[in-house]
Symmetry: C2
């Protein structure tokens, strides 16, 4: 077996492989500026601070009456405070009245607080006793039922941090601050090179010994879900020079190269040898202690991460989630520290025992269902070479490398896919 | 207050509101046929059965030697089975040799099993003793290390069910079966009508009493994340006839209508009165026992669900997730039964006490962080009128209507947003 840059030819641990990959000198994609309404789901490429207070003026948070809080102190249902009704605030306009001592000004939710007022009495706690008089039955504290100027967002405060994936509420906050254009990272281009003498495109009728391409369709979707743009390079025979040429073109034109090879030792060795042969390139590891997915090859060629992926469909998905996804995200500008707090894993009760050989991370496909208000995870057993087990599964459960399995009844974390 | 179709003017429970909405006669969008590579994330509009066995022929799951299993029975490292090496299987081609009694045929992972063979001995368990002889050190059972014809997917089996959202592995399975075009539902059109005399577009510099539009930007993103197409109708003043005309146009041209109104009682009553005034239309409920989000109005006009949404940003998000999202998904053809097993909620440990008034569902915004390998949920307190609390939050925790709160230290379900 070909040795990697560091002379290793043994499988590395999952943590070590990820560590190697994330310590590569990976450049972020350049930024571009777009209207905020085109930035949903995109990665913000600079910190955003607020250009102004939000709201700019103090607003009522309730339908009611703007008052001086002190005028209501000590009032109750039996001893209401009597206030003079001094007009009303119109929505969307500056009030043309003020709230002096003993005054109340009718105000709708969102209305601008009139000068002099520092609180709003809710409609429910007021009785109108005449055209120009109200009885307040409950005292309010200064600031009560009011959104003060700058209470939502203060001028010059950080609103959003570089590296977040913009969600609907983030875009809404930008719009509310009058920020109508925003800088985002361009999406990473990810080339997908399918190899294998036996692989034919899906529109073909495969001859004996041939099978249709499955993995590049799985990979293209995984790349899109990760915020990348898949570029399918096509299906290439297991011929050294043909494949070398394809990898060279991919390294030159894209940000990450995925070689979706066969699982045979021959193909794998050729992929590793090819990566080794590239100018300014080499392999980082051959094989990781993960099942399925052990044959994964990691490489780095002229600043571009190159992955030689295993051939079994389930191994493709596991390898992608664990090792390719973080690399694509990092190049795409995602702050992986922030990202870590937005997990894609749910908790469920395991309904069958699963066993595992220690010394490697084991990924078990599971299907989820609800029973008695509880989420249950049922292992979907089957060879990792089967696409149908991935289709029947809702996610994966990881058994850590030190464990020998997980007994039924335990709560497990399921990464949804 | 205007009464709804059933004479109610009280808030209904969250369960009841959802029940009312999902029992409306909602039609699915029509289907269209697209190439599979354009169907990622789309909703499948018919069941898919397999046109053929996958794989079509029995394949090796390992690099090794195709043999008759019975020839290896009883062998061991000390007493190996001696087999005659009878050529090799080439990748992507039908074998030109057979495996007779006492024969072994070299085969790569994915290679087609030669006639006569019923198992594959792994490379690791074999020693080659001469050009045409191997020693097998471990017996294999019939079928071992082989993916049998039809083992992945059997001809005429159901592969995918109508109403699922197509994932990368689902598209991959279709490609593998040679299914290159697939029927999906068209995306529901969702109109967003912003009302409020105080609302100005984000590019404006708001005058006194005015604020920029926030909610329609939040809603547009939520609609997209749900598989719908947002159609922004614009910002309208709180004038009965102007708004009535906009709602009429929206009902005629889209599948769901969202009226993003102010939170004031006046605006709300007008929205309800408008829905009531429509030909063949009416309100279904005014108000739900949910906080934030109580002022939600549900209506149904000429077969189109119409929502009068509350004005506070957090209330918009809660109302959307609970009531609008299921309606958009149902119209978009999503099978909500299947969907339920793909939850968007994670478990986390609550790090502060939260209290709640019984009699309504309470939604508390939380931010998530990891500590000691455990996910922690910290409440983000703040008025529901603030967009910044939504921005700082990673998700929401629901306190059921019978509970008075949740003590710190409990595990809670967090719906990520």
């Amino acid at each position: 077996m070909v040795k990697d840059m560091l002379g290793r030819n043994e499988a590395v641990s999952a943590d070590r492989a990820l560590d190697i990959l994330l310590n590569l000198p990976l450049n972020n994609k350049p930024s571009l500026e777009v209207p905020v309404e085109e930035a949903y789901g995109r990665v913000l490429s600079c910190d955003i601070t607020s250009p102004e207070n939000m709201p700019v003026f103090s607003r009522s948070a309730m339908d009611g009456f703007a008052v001086r809080a002190s005028d209501t102190f000590g009032c109750s249902e039996s001893v209401p405070a009597y206030l003079r009704l001094n007009g009303y605030v119109k929505m969307g306009e500056a009030p043309d009245v003020t709230a002096g001592p003993g005054d109340a000004v009718s105000i709708p939710t969102g209305g601008m607080l009139p000068e002099g007022a520092d609180a709003v009495v809710m409609l429910e706690n007021v009785q109108q006793t005449g055209d120009d008089m109200i009885e307040v039955m409950r005292p309010v504290a200064p600031g009560e039922n009011v959104i003060a100027a700058g209470e939502d967002i203060r001028e010059r405060d950080y609103v959003l941090r570089r590296g977040i994936v913009l969600r609907p509420q983030d875009i809404a906050a930008l719009a509310g601050l009058g920020i109508t254009r925003v800088k985002i990272y361009k999406k990473p281009l990810v080339s997908i090179i399918s190899t294998g003498d036996e692989i034919v495109p899906p529109q073909s009728h495969p001859g004996f010994g041939q099978v249709r391409d499955i993995n590049s369709f799985n990979l293209a979707g995984l790349v899109m879900n990760t915020g990348g743009i898949p570029e399918k390079f096509g299906i290439f025979p297991d011929e050294y020079n043909v494949l070398r040429d394809a990898i060279c073109r991919a390294v030159e034109s894209t940000d990450v190269v995925l070689i979706s090879g066969g699982s045979s030792v021959g193909t794998r060795d050729m992929t590793a040898a090819l990566i080794e042969s590239m100018q300014k390139g080499g392999t980082l590891f051959h094989g990781v202690a993960v099942k399925p997915g052990k044959p994964l090859i990691g490489g780095f060629v002229r600043g571009v991460p190159v992955f030689g992926l295993p051939g079994h469909p389930a191994a493709v998905t596991v390898s992608f989630h664990n090792f390719v996804e973080p690399v694509i995200k990092k190049i795409g500008g995602v702050d992986l520290q922030i990202e870590r707090n937005r997990p894609a894993a749910v908790s469920a009760r395991l309904v069958k025992n699963i066993s595992s050989a220690p010394g490697r991370e084991d990924y078990i496909r599971v299907s989820l269902y609800e029973e008695g208000g509880e989420l249950c995870a049922e292992p979907v057993f089957g060879k990792s070479g089967l696409i149908s087990t991935l289709v029947r599964a809702d996610g994966m459960v990881m058994i850590p490398s030190h464990a020998q399995g997980i007994p039924r009844g335990e709560m497990v974390k399921v990464r949804i896919f």
